[in-house]
């Protein structure tokens, strides 16, 4: 039995909830500094062109304009950015995608800055551009990114990144297979659609060379390093302050050109400068989910046991390389280790084109991989005449399993999660039911595997914590981790309440300033509550040692067994207020403050050169059974019910977890049915919520959530990371449900009403042919 807890496991409202709903929260857009200027960036008029000339003289002459910069400016002493260092901050000579920044203006008002942009004259020699990665791989294609190292590294000048992975004996497993299914899947570009648009405010001091940035980054310490590299600065001279962030979802994991540009404007003008994206800029400029074409071949034997997976992926890398190119780190996990897979071969190639680049996005390649895997599973089951639930259950991951990739599932809720959604949705009955006339009902299953205890992608995946208990019994938690809306700072406060018996109103969480807080790698990989929670627990242990020792001295009793509750420390009949202990420490000899610091590094391992190794502290598993109804008159798919069961290790904050589920599902349903960035020849055709169909609250179906608690000893109180998982199997389950409803399988997302109607029309015509 797990220990009975007082705070953990009981719903707790978000610490910043009142500020957010009342409009008191201070976002980056609310920052105003004395003499602050407003920046705007001129972007290319053509996605692929040579720049013949740039004339900024008229813009510079406009009243209210303080400075204009281009790549020829003296202040432009910079390095290329992105992890491949293939991305110039300001472009000269050539432009390669619709986002390309050519010049920037700082002016007294945003309106003046925008007006100045219109006065900058750029002469282009427009080129055709390459928007299809397959075209870009051809010999005759020109080299798209002049900094690309594809020729030397991968044998093709337009190859940006490539991954190869394998385990098991593929040929042997193919020979064993009774059924082999080979399909091609196409995944679209979608965007995070953060409610707060990207923003940055930069203040540079010419006196000591220090830079302060108010930034919406979700990885402040990596960002500090990236800004430093871009601008040839010392990282420690850069202070990152994070105002409240209105949505991250992975979009703020990389640094983008507008951020160093803002600093350059501040340097040149000698005044603070702020750049705020409009909604249209947010659509055009923020990184997208990685689009890709997946060729997946899978097999199973006559009993339905999986035999192998063979995957070949072509990714449209866009003109520069951002984190989208590295999504195979996660995709390899899914292909190699979601369900038991005796043999797997995986190849992924990211190819430069004149499209925009993709970044990281909640799920990090996993929704794409899972969509292909789960669709192939349904097809194999159909061919074998096996139930869709049974084929999943007999292949599901299990406790103690070490997968071909070396992931070690010390706890595993895969089978309980599957069984739960199958049972709660009455899957077998719903699956077999008649589908209806105009409105056809269907049900589909999808499962997923994701890291649950961080992911050792950087040299450290750790998090530091400093704790301070003041003379009045108030606890300050200074954590390296960030809050971007996911509710982790609330979880940290709950942990402190649980362990130290301090009331919520006496707890402060400080997490927004790199000059103050200790290091942390940032918000990604569903890691924050896991890593920051463990770090806090480590710090609390140290603080308790101090408090215990002092209480022993004060009360003249020998014990280490103090109970912390209601602001007091108690042992048998001995009792003392925690603030009194802190005061006695401070004012009594030997005079010390009740502060501690602790750094937690998870036990996970760096993967080897073959991408094998136990990369996470633990692993999350989830299954979803989704019921849909398809309107055959309009083609619209309505999601009626979502049954989601997820191995979260242990529930920390039920209401926060439910919020993660619902938010994730909203993104997953949009990915499945409506969201798509429509690009034609490198230009985005729907940069607004009018044309880009982000779903709203009214589109949300009832969400039936069944957490599975497996009490993994690596996580705080046995918990696992939960943030990304809820959207990962959603598109897969919906696609399988639509297929169940209509008898047609869809191989591309989103499954729009138009695709459905076309498929129904084709189906009708085929049936006619059969009758004839």
């Amino acid at each position: 039995m797990e220990k009975e807890l007082k705070v953990i496991g009981k719903s707790h409202r978000k610490l910043d909830g009142k500020e957010r709903v009342s409009g008191k929260a201070v976002y980056g857009h609310d920052i105003e500094l004395p003499n602050m200027l407003h920046g705007s960036i001129l972007r290319t008029a053509h996605p692929c062109a040579e720049i013949i000339s740039i004339d900024t003289s008229k813009a510079e002459a406009l009243e209210g304009v303080e400075c204009v910069i281009t790549a020829d400016d003296d202040v432009y002493d910079v390095n290329n950015i992105s992890y491949k260092r293939d991305h110039p901050i300001l472009k000269k000579g050539t432009v390669n995608c619709n986002r390309d920044e050519i010049a920037a203006v700082a002016a007294r008002t945003k309106e003046i800055a925008d007006k100045a942009l219109q006065l900058i004259e750029v002469e282009y020699n427009v080129k055709k551009g390459i928007y299809d990665p397959v075209e870009a791989l051809k010999n005759e294609a020109p080299q798209i990114n002049e900094f690309g190292k594809g020729k030397e590294q991968f044998g093709n000048k337009n190859m940006a990144e490539s991954f190869h992975y394998e385990h098991g004996n593929l040929e042997e497993q193919k020979a064993k297979s009774k059924v082999i299914v080979k399909r091609t899947y196409e995944l679209p570009r979608v965007t995070h659609a953060c409610m707060a648009t990207s923003n940055i405010t930069a203040e540079f001091s010419p006196f000591d060379g220090r830079l302060t940035l108010w930034s919406s980054t979700q990885v402040p310490f990596l960002y500090q390093r990236d800004i430093a590299h871009a601008l040839k600065m010392e990282p420690s001279k850069i202070r990152i302050i994070q105002p409240i962030i209105g949505g991250g979802f992975g979009s703020k994991l990389d640094m983008h050109p507008f951020e160093p540009i803002c600093v350059l404007l501040a340097k040149k003008s000698g005044k603070p400068v702020q750049i705020l994206f409009s909604r249209e800029e947010e659509f055009v400029l923020s990184p997208t989910r990685q689009p890709m074409v997946i060729d997946l071949t899978t097999g199973c034997d006559e009993n339905g046991k999986f035999t192998f997976r063979e995957v070949e992926i072509i990714k449209d890398n866009g003109a520069y390389t951002s984190w989208g190119a590295t999504t195979p780190f996660v995709m390899m996990q899914s292909y190699s280790s979601l369900y038991q897979v005796p043999a797997c071969k995986f190849d992924s190639h990211a190819v430069y084109t004149n499209n925009p680049f993709a970044g990281s996005f909640r799920g990090y390649g996993n929704p794409q991989a899972t969509f292909s895997i789960e669709t192939n599973i349904d097809l194999m089951a159909e061919e074998l005449g096996m139930d869709q639930s049974e084929i999943r259950l007999i292949n599901a991951n299990y406790k103690g399993e070490v997968t071909g990739q070396g992931l070690h599932f010390k706890t595993c809720g895969a089978i309980p999660a599957l069984e739960k959604v199958i049972d709660e949705s009455d899957f077998e009955k719903a699956n077999a039911e008649p589908k209806g006339d105009r409105y056809k009902k269907g049900i589909g299953l999808g499962s997923m595997l994701h890291v649950g205890g961080g992911a050792k992608i950087y040299r450290s995946d750790g998090c530091g914590t400093v704790l301070k208990l003041d003379d009045y019994g108030y606890l300050t938690i200074i954590t390296g981790s960030n809050e971007i809306g996911q509710g982790s700072e609330t979880v940290l406060a709950m942990i402190a309440m649980e362990e130290l018996g301090i009331a919520e109103e006496k707890i402060k969480v400080i997490n927004t300033d790199t000059d103050v807080k200790p290091w942390d790698v940032g918000v990604h990989a569903s890691r924050t509550s896991f890593v920051a929670g463990n770090s806090l627990l480590g710090a609390i242990k140290l603080m308790k040692e101090k408090l215990n020792k002092k209480a022993v001295a004060l009360l003249d009793v020998v014990t280490d067994d103090w109970e912390y509750a209601d602001g007091k420390m108690t042992f048998n009949e001995f009792e003392i207020k925690i603030d009194k202990v802190a005061r006695e420490m401070h004012f009594g000899t030997p005079h010390e403050l009740c502060t501690v610091n602790y750094f937690y590094e998870p036990p996970s391992k760096f993967q080897d050169k073959d991408f094998k190794g136990d990369v996470s502290g633990n692993y999350a598993f989830a299954s979803q059974a989704i019921e849909v109804e398809v309107d055959t008159v309009t083609g619209n798919v309505e999601v009626l019910n979502v049954h989601v069961s997820q191995d979260v290790g242990r529930v920390l904050n039920p209401i926060g977890l439910q919020g993660q589920m619902e938010g994730g599902l909203a993104t997953g349903i949009g990915y499945a049915l409506t969201e798509e960035m429509i690009y034609e020849n490198g230009e985005l055709k729907n940069p607004s919520f009018h044309g880009y169909k982000l779903l709203t609250a009214t589109d949300m179906p009832p969400v039936h959530f069944y957490p599975i608690e497996t009490y993994d000893e690596a996580g705080p109180y046995g918990s696992k990371g939960a943030g990304e998982a809820p959207l990962i199997p959603t598109a897969a389950a919906i696609a399988n449900a639509v297929s169940n409803a209509l008898g047609v399988t869809f191989y591309s997302l989103p499954i729009t009403a138009e695709k459905v109607l076309r498929a129904l029309k084709e189906q009708k015509e085929k049936n006619k042919e059969v009758l004839v």
Partner: protein
């Protein structure tokens, strides 16, 4: 955005403001749900906004049952229309159109007159009023008045017969001849709220007690530069017994509706999809 605002609270003030601005660039705003978006995209330095959101004149604001029909003030909001029981019972097409418009927050401020004067081919309330054969009652700044059938008032993409010195005061809808009606508004889109119709179909069909169709109004949204009233489809129905409509009749009706559809392909849907859906929907309204 930087522009002059003239606030008006009486019709007298309103007409004076219109008169005073005949030589300048002005827009009239009430709910501002479309106007603000439009102003973001244009230079507003020389622009005056005549704000009628606080106008108190009942002729502009009230929904009134009259002997020969219903009068709805130009400033009635979509929510006023959704909440009106007489409309819900007698003109389901309008009730449904108003309730499918945007979202609650927008419905609370978006006005009928604004929806009409925005002249969007996908205007929900406008499409339903065209099916209802509504009439616009227009005043000018000199006190002159005129009335015009809504389907005549709209003359092209973003074009109406409204002159610079005029404003719509209210609209009227003829009283139903019979209680026996088939009336509704089908709106096709991919979201349940905050959606602009990809295709819409408004229909208001009246039958006598025998089931004979005595009057019909059908309009289709987002499939042409204006919202057409499908005259030939309506004429086809007149005199037919609703119970005797065969599948072939329904198909012929749908084909006649299609005569009015000349949709375009855009990022939201293709021409093919719009036609397919309109045809499908037209067949379903009798079942």
């Amino acid at each position: 955005m930087d522009f002059e605002v003239i606030n008006t609270t009486t019709s007298d003030e309103l007409l004076k403001a219109i008169a005073a601005n005949q030589n300048s660039n002005f827009r009239i705003g009430a709910g501002f749900t479309d106007l603000i978006n439009q102003l973001k995209k244009q230079n507003t330095e020389e622009l005056t906004i005549i704000n009628i959101a606080q106008l108190k004149d009942e002729a502009y604001t009230q929904i009134v049952e009259e002997a020969d029909g219903l009068r709805i003030g130009t400033l009635a909001t979509a929510s006023d229309i959704v909440d009106n029981n007489f409309i819900r019972e007698n003109y389901p097409v309008l009730h449904q159109a108003a309730s499918k418009l945007a979202c609650t927050q927008i419905r609370n401020v978006a006005t009928l007159g604004g929806n009409i004067c925005n002249v969007s081919p996908s205007g929900d309330m406008t499409a339903s009023l065209i099916a209802l054969k509504a009439t616009c009652h227009i005043v000018d700044c000199n006190g002159g008045e005129r009335a015009e059938l809504l389907s005549d008032f709209i003359i092209g993409l973003k074009k109406t017969t409204l002159k610079k010195n005029e404003i719509i005061k209210n609209i009227t809808i003829p009283m139903n001849d019979h209680h026996n009606i088939i009336s509704g508004y089908e709106k096709v889109g991919s979201r349940k709220s905050m959606e602009i119709a990809i295709v819409s179909l408004g229909y208001h069909i009246q039958m006598n007690n025998d089931g004979t169709i005595t009057d019909a109004g059908v309009s289709c949204g987002a499939v042409a530069p204006t919202i057409p009233f499908a005259t030939s489809a309506c004429d086809f129905l007149l005199g037919k017994d609703i119970q005797d409509l065969t599948e072939a009749d329904k198909e012929e009706f749908a084909n006649k509706v299609m005569e009015y559809a000349s949709p375009i392909s855009d990022v939201r849907a293709s021409e093919w999809y719009r036609k397919e859906v309109l045809f499908n929907l037209s067949q379903t309204i009798f079942s």
